[in-house]
């Protein structure tokens, strides 16, 4: 908007400090990568893992193939990450596990986000006894550390992938509930909410149509961080023997399988999957952190 095209009342335009608009993600990402190397690094790391998850299986063999001839082999050209006690290619398993872990993380975080956002929006908007009731339930959930809660739920529900997703989602939903609720409490007092009511909107429509989209910003950021934590939790659960069990390839499972061999020198069985966990969590954390600063 040049000086000459604006009406006289806005002849001067001060440089604006824009927050992160919910929509124009493309330009926002572009701006973030330019300004913050951390974001770029995180993005690259995650994209690498995603690439691995999507296309890695074209480069590797069967993750479940047992081959007693090549057990416990150190990393080499044929087996870039070595083989484990059953002769399975560690790299193949790492790749297969990346699919699983990313999927768990994505679904768990999405369910936590969606469910938490809806619950948070409804309670934040209605206040009253509904709000009190829900928040007490949330308090109960948050009395436990998220991982412990996930452990308990998985133990209760049974050791399947689906249950791991549910357990992790439930463990993290309180964060989303609180975030969206607090945004909603402020938003419902906004003048445009009052205006929406004046033109004849029903309360439900005001909440979903007008307010909710404006409340999701911090929750989206939290969602990004949650992706990383979900991977950590899923891996932690399977390391403990809950959730995903061998022979399914999952990073936590692999780490567990390799612990007994570390002392005898076959470090590659645990270390590589462990490294993948670190990279994934680190990458999501970097992205989420920079996003949070941009939104603020």
């Amino acid at each position: 908007m040049s000086l000459t095209s604006m009406p006289p009342e806005m002849a001067i335009e001060q440089p604006a400090r824009a927050g992160l608009p919910f929509r124009r993600i493309g330009t926002a990402v572009g701006r973030l990568t330019r300004r913050s190397p951390g974001f770029l690094v995180g993005l690259v790391l995650i994209l690498c893992i995603v690439f691995l998850a999507l296309f890695g299986r074209f480069f590797t063999g069967d993750p479940l193939l047992l081959n007693p001839d090549v057990i416990l082999q150190a990393p080499s050209l044929g087996h870039p990450m070595g083989t484990d006690a059953f002769g399975r290619d560690v790299f193949a398993r790492v790749v297969a596990a990346s699919q699983l872990d990313l999927m768990i993380a994505f679904f768990a975080a999405s369910i936590a986000f969606a469910g938490g956002a809806i619950v948070g929006a409804v309670t934040g908007f209605s206040r009253g006894w509904v709000d009190d009731l829900v928040m007490r339930l949330v308090d109960i959930l948050q009395a436990f550390p998220a991982f412990i809660l996930a452990v308990g739920l998985t133990a209760m529900l049974g050791n399947t992938v689906r249950n791991v997703v549910i357990a992790v989602a439930v463990a993290y939903s309180p964060y989303f509930i609180r975030l969206v609720r607090s945004q909603m409490i402020t938003a419902r007092e906004a003048e445009y909410a009052r205006a929406a009511r004046c033109i004849g909107n029903r309360p439900w429509r005001i909440m979903t149509h007008h307010l909710l989209p404006n409340c999701l910003g911090p929750a989206v950021v939290q969602g990004t961080l949650c992706l990383g934590w979900a991977i950590l939790d899923a891996a932690g659960l399977s390391f403990l023997g809950l959730g995903i069990r061998p022979p399914t390839a999952e990073w936590g499972v692999q780490v567990a399988e390799g612990t007994q061999y570390i002392n005898s020198g076959q470090w590659w069985i645990s270390v590589f999957p462990g490294l993948m966990i670190v990279i994934a969590v680190f990458g999501f954390n970097l992205i989420g952190d920079r996003l949070r600063r941009a939104v603020e």
Partner: protein, 366 residues
């Protein structure tokens, strides 16, 4: 007595002459001030406020008028080097007592702030510490600036509150800012600023947002205090009524430039710059509706560039919105009558433009 009724005393030194204080020289002289920021291009800054010249004499109230975005607040803030980031003064000087304020830093700058030049802002509550009682805050500042003891500063604070017409100053001194109304907070700020006895007080929209009866009180207070202390006042406002009541000289800003600077009577009866005329007509349209029918203030076109001709001696100048907005135009302040300056670009005789769309108003060809 609950209410007083009296005709306003004649304003001191009405009518611009500039000559009375000539012996002393002006109190503050802003010369060619340019304010801007460095955007993407680190070498070439974006100039928001350009080539501002403004003179404030001793014991005078000068008004700085403009609409939002005209640059009046940032111009005033530059005097104290308090521009909001990323804006900063880029070029020019601000002379006070022979010293260029823009060149000062550190201790010397702090010595000026509050002592010689004080500022009050639009939202008085934003200037007060919400966690401290009023009396304590004021006392602290007085003690710091005047080097007196805390107890003496407390007494001084209460006395200044009383002199600013605050009933029950002891009670106010014991209160916290949130317990006081907006008008009361503003009076506290005025009492503080004047208690520092600055040479220049800058008031940035001090009554905007206050009720009109409170505004009348505050303006009354500002005028009385200014008369008593002899400080000069730079009053920033968008309200021409306030300007007419209080100010002796007025500068009109538009698009980051001063487009007209004149004694207050002159400005209201013989405005010369199209923008100043436009502003006056807008306020008249509301105030005196019978005149609104004559003037096309409502149909003011955004794109057209009405311009007027100024003749000074042998030379002709063109005053227009375009030349004010255009950073490349060679425009400078032209003295059309003593003390009355208008922003104009020189034109040669064959390029003289016809009078603008404003029919028959003051300001068409001289």
């Amino acid at each position: 007595m609950k209410a007083q009724s009296y005709a306003a005393a004649g304003k001191p030194m009405s009518g611009g002459d500039g000559g009375r204080s000539a012996a002393q020289g002006p109190l503050l002289r802003i010369e060619d001030l340019t304010i801007g920021y460095f955007g993407q291009d680190r070498d070439e800054p974006v100039r928001i406020i350009r080539n501002v010249d403004l003179t404030i004499d001793h014991n005078m109230i000068v008004g700085l008028v403009g609409e939002s975005g005209s640059g009046k607040t940032q111009t005033a803030r530059a005097i104290l080097k308090l521009n909001t980031r990323p804006l900063q003064p880029l070029e020019g000087h601000i002379f006070m007592d022979g010293v260029d304020l823009l060149a000062l830093t550190g201790e010397k700058l702090r010595a000026i702030r509050g002592d010689k030049v004080a500022m009050i802002f639009q939202d008085p509550r934003a200037s007060l510490n919400p966690l401290m009682r009023i009396g304590d805050q004021l006392a602290r500042i007085y003690a710091l600036h005047q080097g007196i003891s805390r107890a003496a500063a407390q007494a001084e604070a209460i006395e200044m509150l009383r002199r600013c017409g605050i009933a029950g100053p002891e009670r106010v001194a014991r209160s916290y800012p949130h317990q006081l109304s907006g008008g009361m907070c503003q009076r506290v700020m005025i009492s503080l600023s004047l208690g520092m006895q600055p040479d220049l007080l800058i008031a940035d929209e001090p009554t905007t947002g206050l009720d009109v009866t409170i505004q009348a009180q505050i303006l009354e207070l500002i005028q009385t205090a200014q008369r008593e202390t002899g400080s000069s006042l730079l009053l920033i406002t968008h309200d021409l009524g306030v300007v007419a009541e209080v100010c002796q000289r007025v500068a009109v800003m538009y698009a980051g430039r001063i487009v007209e600077f004149a004694p207050v009577d002159e400005l209201f009866t013989h405005p010369r710059h199209p923008y100043a005329i436009h502003l006056l007509q807008a306020s008249l349209a509301l105030e005196a509706p019978e005149k609104a029918a004559e003037t096309p203030a409502s149909g003011y076109p955004a794109e057209a560039s009405p311009s007027l001709e100024l003749s000074v001696g042998q030379e002709t100048y063109q005053a227009s919105l375009e030349s004010a907005r255009d950073p490349d135009a060679t425009a400078f302040m032209v003295e059309v009558s003593p003390g009355h300056l208008v922003l104009g670009t020189p034109v040669t005789v064959d390029q003289a433009v016809p009078s603008g769309f404003l029919s028959g108003q003051a300001g068409a060809k001289v």
